[in-house]
């Protein structure tokens, strides 16, 4: 059975993110939109910690490139905890949340994501923002 931690499109943690879609124009005529998702669990009885060393190591959101070599790299994506944080975030770096995420909608962690200039051609590209290995307590 999978853990109930997940990415949601709403702070109430009712709508899991199916696919987070960004749209870019080849001439950069569209703004590099910032999107917000919520990392958390609707199960208020659970807590989550990094499996590598629970309670000590940080939970973080990192980028996984499933199609390396297609031109769309982790360095094209910024992660942050706030919209303003994206301005200073380094593309490709993980976003560190902290040692523990408590379950329940009131404890949802905001994760802001922005895809920056890619110079890519027409096409559909994929990336997977994901957590490190997390244990459910």
């Amino acid at each position: 059975m999978a853990i109930s931690l997940g990415f949601f499109s709403d702070a109430a943690l009712t709508t899991p993110v199916a696919t987070l879609t960004f749209i870019h124009a080849t001439d950069d005529s569209l703004p590099f939109v910032k999107q917000r998702v919520y990392l958390g669990s609707p199960n208020g009885a659970k807590t989550y910690q990094a499996a590598s060393n629970p309670g000590v190591d940080d939970i973080q959101v990192e980028l996984f490139d499933p199609n390396m070599g297609d031109g769309f790299n982790t360095t094209h994506v910024k992660l942050a905890g706030t919209e303003l944080g994206l301005d200073s975030a380094v593309a490709g770096d993980p976003y560190v949340i902290g040692p523990t995420i408590n379950g329940g909608s009131g404890n949802a962690e905001e994760v802001w994501i922005q895809v920056i200039d890619t110079n890519l051609g027409n096409g559909t590209y994929n990336m997977t923002p994901r957590t490190n290995l997390v244990a459910e307590f």
């Binding site: 879609t21 590598s52 996984f64 027409n122 923002p129």
Partner: protein, 712 residues
């Protein structure tokens, strides 16, 4: 792997090695490994957390080994520890006590999809496009007819309509509530999609069947209300980041009503993205527009319109009256007293006179306990015993004096509750609009906050002097409190007035959870923000509309500039109608942008939305209590009325008992002793309203001025 707590036991048999590998994330207790002689025992345990002691028992004769690997089970560093076993003769058991917590763990992620397209395709001539509509997950391409239309409007549910030409039997009710998606696609010459952009995600609201044409028309919604309605108030607060107070809005509101109320306090709109995700967008236009609609983007001829806001719908002033009603607890300690005149003066004018008995005085004193007063202490003085006074032989035996009262002092206290209403008047105004539109266009609102009467037992508090909150001075003092014996009057005794009772004590019940002054101030700021938002909302009702070739990337979150020879302006997009006519091959959209402004040229002042200061605390020092008087009747000069009269002072009404020169029996009083607690002024007991209608706090609001140019 389910979470589990229990004993983990490995069994091995003679002659065979025992080998096991478990990968728990934490170990807190007992794990037992059983091995037999003659065989090696090997176990590998990889806990991420080890909270217990691990013991291995091995037997002689065969070397046993166990490896406990500390550290991450999948990733990360490993810290290895090899245990040396204690070999016990004849023992054939290796025992390791551990308890396992079998935890769920994993990584969670989400697919991120980046669509990159050449934007020139929306201006391609001819633009090769198609629309993909799925109904309950099934592509309806082969059945679509007519026009697919998606209507997205700021703050409202996004709708979509499309029609299909079905075949076979139709179970039309089965479609209700089924998921629907609409994607606008760029296609190549072979009809293959190059880019697919979502413009609608929702569900079927009403399917209508037209038997004449054999067409089913689907009316779909994005279920904005349903999705918002599933949110908790906390989630909505995080999403909207506005203001909400139960004293401004309906405390019993459901989630949807709650969201609408909170949205009325911030210049933002809530709607769903094309993917049905809730989002909140600020009304303010961006400095740089996301899109520009001009000749280059082929604004359709004669499609540009400008609609001016109706003056009657504009509000540039909101008058707020805010009331805060709470109990004010009050307490007073004072006293009542009476004494005979000095014996010297009495024997100088009277030969014989009546003196009240203690029992007479006591019955009167006990009556003071009515009317809310509490008796804290009573002190009596008895008449002087026999002595020579000013040449007169005063006769009063001690046995007689004991039963009589020459003076009495009573310390009393009272607690009472007064209802106080603070009223604040505030005026939220956009001065630029008032100037530009030639006057104030007002909206009035009154909000009130009453401290819940059930939160405090007023009558119980009044009846019990010891019940908290208690006055800051002691009200239950029986000694060392007023009255004090009058000093330096050795020939008699009397009492001073109660000069040290001091000012009244008070405490406002503004600390009841949910009704605290901070709650009122939050409600006040909520009302101020609501007023400001109303002013901003009514000043962005002018709009420019144009029809352009459909660009599916244009959304309600964007700012656009419309630039045409007659009308130009920049503002946030408030309404888009995407229209994809399959039969005609035409894909257009009608875009509305809001133009915020007053037309005022120059800087506007924006004041902080702060609560006004609260009134000064009350100070009230009651007048000093007056000592009771003594009057004798049966005397020619007696003036006080007889019994049953009401306007008589406190004190003793007696009669002279000798029949000397000016004796007048017709003026004899009915002997009585009166003591009444001092009255408390009505202003301290009646409901109090603290207001000053002449003082109105003015808060100025600046309305954003969006670009607008109209050329004749």
């Amino acid at each position: 792997m389910a979470s589990d707590t229990g004993n983990f036991i490995l069994w091995g048999s003679s002659g065979q090695a025992v080998a096991a590998e478990v990968n728990p994330l934490s170990i807190e207790g007992d794990v037992t490994l059983w091995g037999s002689s003659g065989a090696g025992l090997a176990a590998q345990i990889q806990p991420s957390v080890n909270e217990g002691n691990i013991t291995l028992w091995g037997s002689s004769g065969v070397g046993q080994s166990a490896q406990i690997v500390m550290g991450g089970a999948v990733q990360g560093e490993r810290a290895e520890m090899t245990l040396a076993l204690v070999m016990v003769p004849q023992a054939e058991v290796i025992e390791l006590d551990l308890e396992l917590h079998m935890l769920e763990y994993g990584q969670v992620g989400m697919p991120l999809e980046l669509l990159v397209f050449d934007p020139s395709f929306v201006n391609a001539n001819p633009l090769r496009w198609s629309v993909k509509v799925t109904l309950n997950g099934v592509d309806q391409a082969a059945k679509l007819v007519g026009t697919v239309e998606v209507d997205a409007e700021e703050g409202l549910a996004r709708t979509a309509t499309f029609s299909i030409s079905p075949t076979g039997s139709i179970a039309i009710t089965d479609w209700v509530g089924k998921p629907v998606t609409v994607d606008f696609q760029q296609i190549d010459t072979g009809g293959n999609p190059l880019v697919s952009v979502r413009v609608f995600t929702g569900l079927v609201d009403i399917p209508n069947y037209d038997p004449t044409r054999g067409i089913v028309e689907f009316n779909c919604i994005d279920n904005l209300n349903g999705i918002v309605g599933q949110h908790t108030r906390t989630a909505l607060d995080q999403l909207i980041q506005g203001w909400w107070s139960p004293f401004v809005f309906d405390p019993d509101a459901n989630s949807l009503e709650y969201a609408q109320a909170e949205l009325s306090t911030v210049p933002k709109s809530l709607d769903l993205s094309p993917y049905q995700a809730p989002r909140v967008t600020a009304w303010a236009a961006k400095a740089t527009p996301d899109f520009t609609f001009d000749a280059a983007t082929k604004v359709l001829h004669d499609s540009v319109t400008f609609e001016m806001a109706n003056r009657s719908e504009i509000k540039n002033v909101v008058n707020l009256e805010m009331q805060y009603r709470f109990p004010r607890l009050r307490a007073r300690r004072t006293g009542v007293s009476w004494s005979m005149p000095t014996l010297f003066s009495l024997v100088s004018s009277l030969v014989d006179f009546s003196i009240p008995t203690k029992s007479m005085v006591e019955s009167t004193v006990n009556g003071l306990g009515s009317g809310g007063w509490h008796i804290l202490g009573v002190t009596y003085a008895e008449p002087p015993v026999s002595q020579l006074v000013n040449g007169v032989n005063w006769v009063c035996e001690q046995s007689v004096a004991t039963a009589l009262a020459w003076a009495v002092g009573v310390t009393i206290a009272r607690k009472w509750v007064q209802t106080v209403t603070e009223i604040y008047y505030m005026k939220v105004i956009c001065e630029a609009s008032v100037t530009q539109l030639g006057g104030e266009l007002t909206e009035d609102e009154t909000i009130g906050m009453d401290v819940d009467a059930s939160a405090f037992d007023a009558s119980g508090w009044e009846a019990d002097l010891q019940r908290e909150p208690t006055p800051s001075y002691a009200v239950n003092v029986h000694t060392q409190s007023p009255p004090w014996l009058r000093p330096n009057q050795s020939e008699t005794v009397a009492f001073e007035t109660f000069t040290e009772a001091g000012a009244d004590w008070f405490q406002d019940m503004t600390d009841v959870p949910g009704f605290m002054r901070t709650d009122f101030e939050y409600a006040l700021q909520t009302a101020l923000n609501k007023a400001k938002t109303l002013i901003l909302a009514t000043h962005r009702r002018s709009s420019i509309s144009c029809t352009v070739p459909l660009n599916p990337f244009v959304d309600l979150i964007h700012t656009a500039t419309v630039s045409t020879p007659k009308v130009s302006g920049k503002g946030k997009i408030t309404h888009i109608v995407y229209s994809m006519d399959i039969d005609q091959g035409q894909a257009t959209m009608v875009v509305d942008i809001a133009i915020s402004g007053t037309g005022f040229v120059g800087a506007q002042i924006e004041d902080p939305l702060a609560a006004p200061p609260q009134p000064d605390p009350p100070v009230y020092t009651p007048p000093i209590a007056k000592s009771g008087e003594t009057h004798f009747g049966a005397h020619s000069t007696a003036v006080y009325p007889q019994k049953d009269a009401t306007e008589v002072p406190n004190g003793y009404f007696g009669n002279r008992r000798d029949t000397g020169g000016d004796y007048d029996e017709s003026k004899a009083y009915s002997i009585e002793f009166r003591l009444q607690a001092p009255a408390i002024a009505d202003e301290l007991t009646q409901p109090l309203t603290i207001e000053d209608e002449t003082v109105t706090t003015t808060v100025r609001v600046a309305v954003p001025e969006d670009t607008l140019t109209i050329t004749g």
